[in-house]
């Protein structure tokens, strides 16, 4: 009984957060006398208006889900893997590197794609584990280690695009020379998304769900996250688990980065991580670290991203509005959680 009551209450509070967020954005729109209803409808239309748009939404959904899955693992281990952006980037770099390596060789493109994706995952994992090592053996807080590594990764990326891997003559923001179509992950008809990416993502989702819910490893991670000293005293090899969580997160980030290259851009671009890493962290917080919610919420965020494109075209509004909406959503939901705990008095 009591539980049922608290559950319905907490749903109520989350609704409250939702309303507040939309209210906040509405206020902003009114303050610059734009029509909120119109704006929200446009975003909706822009996301689901037609098949192409829906396809684009899934193009964003794929990396978002992968990254979120990754950060859930580190969150469970009590780690704030803010270095995720850099890890995505490294994934993309390794993938590109491998493809470039085999570009003019007889090796079959399909094999090259597979290799490159694996390489991407490895590369990102290395970068993630680096942050882990700094944390575990250097006592460098993962937030700041990761932050530094993000900047280094981006610098490396830009350095390659404008330097070693630049196009003949024109180093340009458009990235490296696109790969021949043979090296693209085949897309569905003339849409931009590939069933292969979707499949990989779904697999990832399932793996993470069961890893965190049902396995001994997942539980040990949780123990490490909740109380590292005690976990160690109880016989859990804690630093190994922390590194493992970084490694797993890295693999997912790497996959995301790799797919950005082989399935979306078909080349390395300066902003290859597209801020998905940070967005993944946000989603992780929004869903309160429950794997079951990753897919829908990621879909919602992706929809906002794509739908937001209509704002400037039709209403001459900056698309960053959707970012504001996403952010205030997470913020208000979090705040309402706090309010709930105050009201119900349960910690």
């Amino acid at each position: 009984m009591k539980q049922a009551r608290t559950r319905s209450l907490s749903i109520l509070f989350q609704l409250g957060g939702l309303i507040l967020a939309f209210g906040f954005v509405t206020l902003i729109l009114l303050s610059i006398d734009a029509n909120p209803a119109e704006a929200f409808r446009l975003i909706w239309q822009g996301a689901v208006g037609n098949s192409t748009r829906i396809a684009s939404v899934f193009v964003v959904w794929v990396p978002l889900v992968l990254v979120t899955c990754g950060v859930l693992v580190t969150f469970t281990a009590g780690l704030w893997n803010i270095g995720i952006e850099g890890q995505i980037t490294l994934g993309a770099i390794f993938t590109t590197g491998v493809i470039r390596l085999f570009l003019d060789t007889p090796v079959h493109p399909v094999l090259v794609i597979v290799l490159s994706i694996l390489a991407g995952m490895v590369g990102a994992a290395i970068w993630a584990v680096l942050a882990g090592l700094l944390k575990v053996f250097g006592g460098v807080n993962e937030i700041f280690g990761g932050l530094g590594l993000n900047f280094i990764a981006t610098a490396l990326n830009i350095g390659l695009i404008f330097g070693a891997w630049s196009r003949p003559g024109v180093a340009s923001m458009s990235g490296t020379e696109p790969f021949p179509e043979a090296y693209w992950l085949p897309t569905f008809q003339n849409f931009r998304f590939s069933w292969y990416s979707i499949a990989l993502t779904v697999v990832g989702l399932v793996v993470i769900y069961f890893l965190l819910q049902g396995t001994h490893f997942g539980l040990r991670l949780k123990a490490v996250g909740k109380g590292i000293k005690s976990a160690f005293r109880l016989g859990i090899p804690t630093w190994q688990h922390m590194l493992l969580s970084f490694l797993i997160c890295g693999l997912f980030a790497g996959l995301a980065g790799a797919l950005q290259v082989v399935a979306v851009y078909h080349r390395l671009i300066p902003a290859i991580s597209s801020g998905y890493g940070f967005m993944g962290l946000m989603i992780g917080m929004l869903i309160n670290y429950q794997a079951i919610w990753v897919a829908p919420i990621a879909l919602f965020f992706a929809a906002l991203n794509i739908g937001g494109i209509q704002l400037p075209i039709v209403m001459k509004l900056d698309s960053t509005l959707t970012g504001v909406l996403q952010g205030s959503l997470v913020l208000f939901i979090l705040l309402m959680q706090g309010v709930k705990q105050r009201v119900l008095g349960n910690k």
């Binding site: 704030w80 700094l134 053996f137 460098v140 917080m285 960053t320 913020l331 979090l334 309010v339």
Partner: protein, 332 residues
């Protein structure tokens, strides 16, 4: 390069380091009180936009800076409320705000892009400016730069040499102990979080009204500054003097990068630009060596005399964060 050119360059370093000093010192005060405000990056961009906007609208630098400080204080107030009162994770809230504020700035700032705004020029100090070396270096700056320099010593003095400063250290160290000594921990935390936020908020307008005047939306070139300031706070080990050193070091490396660009063609210019970050990581490593267990193992292999000395050295390097950093306080 002749001496006075280098001097001019270094004076420029001090000027372009000023906003980072403001932000990092502000964050230092906040964290000394045991609160992490991770929203710096967003706060700076938003306050930069708002500050510029207000300054343009009312053609008043003063109002511009005031608006910036206000924005910073407001964002910090949200962090304070959600972490101190609602007991939510400070890191989480700060992170959300850092993203949201940035987008908000770009959204709201769209109409004022490229407007010409007032600029805070340098106001040399009559006599002091003549002093060789010191003069051109420190006394031909803008008012805000002077303020930033004074702030360093104010903050250091406040934290380590005054009664409230001592209590501040206590609040960040062990809130309960501060509480039984009569401190109103929550109120103090609110105060220092908001004060720190206001200082961070000053950094924004300092960019758009002086250091790199004008608002250009996403290409204003401020995205990332906040993270850098945050990194420098850690780099400085929560100690204003060291924090300031970190800020100037960063600006100096940037300057070095462009000075050496043509001469040192063998290193890509990005290297020096990104140098502060590996540097920060190294510093963090250094100050944490003392706390690591493999270090003890390594030391155990050394001969006694050496070992004692090395241990002493490492302990002197070590800088511990305020023990209660990031943890809420509640009286039962």
């Amino acid at each position: 390069m002749s001496g006075d050119i280098i001097l001019l360059g270094l004076a420029g370093v001090i000027a372009s380091g000023a906003p980072i000093v403001l932000a990092a010192i502000g964050e230092t005060l906040t964290e000394r009180a045991g609160v992490i405000n991770l929203s710096l990056n967003g706060t700076i961009i938003l306050s930069a936009m708002m500050g510029f906007w207000v300054a343009v609208e009312f053609d008043s630098l003063l109002l511009g800076f005031f608006a910036g400080a206000l924005v910073g204080a407001l964002v910090a107030a949200i962090v304070a409320f959600s972490s101190i009162t609602l007991k939510q994770s400070q890191v989480a809230v700060g992170f959300i705000l850092t993203i949201t504020c940035r987008d908000l700035a770009y959204f709201l700032g769209n109409p004022i892009m490229g407007r010409q705004g007032p600029i805070m020029f340098s106001t040399p100090i009559p006599l002091l400016r003549q002093i060789p070396i010191i003069g051109p270096l420190f006394f031909q700056q803008s008012l805000m730069t002077y303020f930033s320099m004074i702030l360093i010593f104010l903050a250091w003095f406040w934290i380590s040499k005054t009664r409230p400063g001592l209590m501040l250290q206590g609040i960040g160290e062990k809130p309960a102990a501060a509480f039984v000594r009569g401190a109103n921990v929550q109120a103090m935390r609110y105060f220092y979080t908001i004060l720190g936020g206001a200082l961070v908020g000053l950094a924004g307008p300092l960019y758009t009204l002086s250091v790199k005047p004008g608002w250009k939306g996403t290409i204003t070139g401020l995205d990332g500054i906040g993270w850098i300031a945050l990194a420098i706070t850690i780099f400085g080990g929560w100690n204003p003097i060291r924090v300031a050193f970190g800020a100037y070091l960063f600006a100096f490396l940037q300057w070095l990068g462009l000075v050496l660009q043509s001469s040192w063609t063998f290193i890509p210019s990005q290297v020096l630009q990104v140098a502060p970050f590996p540097l920060m990581i190294l510093t963090l490593l250094l100050v944490n060596l003392g706390n690591t267990e493999w270090m003890d193992r390594l030391l155990a292999t050394l001969p006694d005399g050496v070992r004692i000395r090395v241990k002493k050295l490492i302990r002197s390097l070590r800088s511990q964060p305020p023990a209660a950093l990031g943890t809420p306080f509640e009286r039962q």
